[in-house]
Amino acid sequence: MIRQDLIELAARNMRNARLRNALTTMGIAVGVASMVAMLSLGIGLQGFANHQLMKSGMFQTVFVTSRQDIRNMEENADAKPGESPVLNDDARARIAALPGVEEVAPEIRAMADVEYGDKTNLTLVAGLPWSTRDEDAVEKVKGRFFSSANADEVLLQRDFAKKLEKDPDWVLGKILTLRYAERQSSESDANLSIERTDKQFRIVGILDEEPFGGMRMVSRARVFLPTGTAEAMRMMQPADTQQLVRSTPGERTYTMLTVRMQSAAYAEKVEESVKTMNFSAYSYLDATRSMRRFFAVLDMFLGIFGSLALAVASLAIVNTLVMAVLERRREIGIMKALGASDADVKKLFFAEAATMGLAGGALGVALGWVIGRAINLGTNVYLQRMKMSAENLWTVPLWLVAGAISFSVLVSVLAGIYPAVRAARLDPVQALRYE
């Protein structure tokens, strides 16, 4: 029989036992819905976790250190610490020239005294690389980001702004003075001198959340200035004392350079290239691998629990179709007498099973989506009551929709095997004998 005839006959048989087939199809729909609901929760949670990590900019970032300074993060590094070169301006330029690299910036953190009006506060000041402007590392800025990489502008953490004014928003556009320790050293001079320096900044924005999702050292700072500005200020940092004892004391060196790529796709190559330069490199791609494994296992378990309902539904298919075989004994006998082969009869039952699977799958995906929306809504109402911002814990990607419907059809056809074989084996002489 050609496919179109099979579909027509199957559809006709479906219509003839409308209630029973509708109930079975609903059973499948509930099974698919629970599977879709579970899996999209898993996928949604994974997306949520990924989003948090993305905010940290870590996927796009490789951290470079000299092995002279820090004991290597990897156990099996080839180069011995002594062979690793110093992270100086030359190295910085070479790394910046690597393909895919957007910005190479040092991590600058220093304690400074903040003068605002008649108040002074000692706090941690940190540089934010210029590349931070177009990522969500600094989500939710009240006001604006720095106007340039070397602007004399600062962003304040909201908590800190509260210390300065009754309404933190009042600080926007005002001036503050940073009193910090400026390093004074020349190329030839082996000694390091430090001088107290004052510098004025305009407050351009307030950060509601810690930058980089609160996941980096600089996130803890309360006042942020452009890294370019911070570099030019030569703020004294703890690592500067190491520089003093080096053979070339005047040369500018870095403890750590943060290499920011255009996209996470470059991370692996850049990491590789940096390692061939004999520096230590570390990216969070390594760290997230175990997280991904965790989510794969979680998804699998959620999927298995979700499919239990589908397994139950598949028994309903077996039941419905076995009933249909018994009920349609005579009809099957007639079809065989008219020349239907065993394969034709089998195909007809498979077509009926597949029809139920398709309809149940489509209905189930819709149902699962509705359930998901409902749970998401409920969660967000709860989160808002807890004074937390709403999150999307629920994702139904297109592949899940297609996958769930195909899986439903597959399970239904598998459930149809026994009834189909039974129908095909029916002896037409027996089937036609009784009135």
Partner: protein, 227 residues
């Protein structure tokens, strides 16, 4: 159509029932033959063997030059589809299908082109005088109409042999004669070979040109009459 030592045995627990035993006969193409005998004589079993619905335990049956005993189930299905048409005492129309859908069923099974089917169904129904009943369900038709519809269905794929199992058994005599007249017309005008099972010698005598008699699973010799 030729049978040589055709036998069909059933196992019933310990004992073996010889429903058809060592039956041999020949029916020429274009013949109208009757298979007579009391109930339980094995004539329906023999008809099922000829129809390819049941399988021989021994012997051979050759129809249109092909031996049914050597065919696999797929080949037998094709044989039932294209070479023979079957008519039953209880009509065996699918009750949930309209008459037209019933007649279309063998065309679907034979994968005949969809565009030609509607016309073919109408033609078949017109031939048996039921074109106006095409969209009725079997329950809405009289017994005679149902049987004529079943004949139209049996002829859908232009078989060379028509096998009828007590075709008038459920009909009153007027409808019965109408159906028999239709079978004779098909036999004479289209050259379809007809083999009809019946327990009514009068009916056989009236319509068949040849009759075979069965008793206890065997052909009764000598009464094989040729008129």
């Amino acid at each position: 159509m030729e049978a040589r030592g055709a036998s069909r045995y059933y196992k019933m627990g310990e004992s073996v029932v010889r429903a058809v035993e060592d039956v041999s006969f020949t029916i020429a193409g274009g013949e109208f033959a009757a298979l007579l005998g009391p109930s339980g004589s094995g004539k329906s079993t023999l008809l099922n063997l000829l129809a390819g619905l049941d399988r021989l335990s021994a012997g051979s049956i050759v129809v249109a030059g092909r031996d049914l005993s050597t065919m696999d189930s797929e080949a037998l299905a094709r044989y039932r589809r294209l070479t023979v048409g079957m008519i039953f005492q209880s009509f065996n129309l699918v009750p949930t299908m309209t008459l037209a859908d019933n007649v279309e069923l063998p065309l679907r099974l034979a994968e005949s082109p969809r565009s030609e089917r509607r016309g073919r169904v109408l033609e078949l129904l017109t031939n048996v005088g039921l074109a106006h009943r095409a969209n009725h369900r079997p329950a809405e038709l009289s017994g005679g109409e149902q049987q004529r519809g079943a004949i139209a269905r049996a002829l859908a794929n232009r078989p060379s042999v028509l096998l009828a199992d007590e075709p008038t058994g459920n009909l009153d005599s007027r409808n019965g004669h109408e159906v028999m007249a239709l079978l004779r017309e098909l036999n004479e005008k289209m050259g379809v070979t007809v083999l009809m099972v019946t327990h009514d010698p009068a009916l056989a005598a009236q319509y068949a040109r040849k009759s075979l008699h069965m008793a206890d699973g065997r052909l009764v010799p000598g009464v094989e009459a040729q008129r």
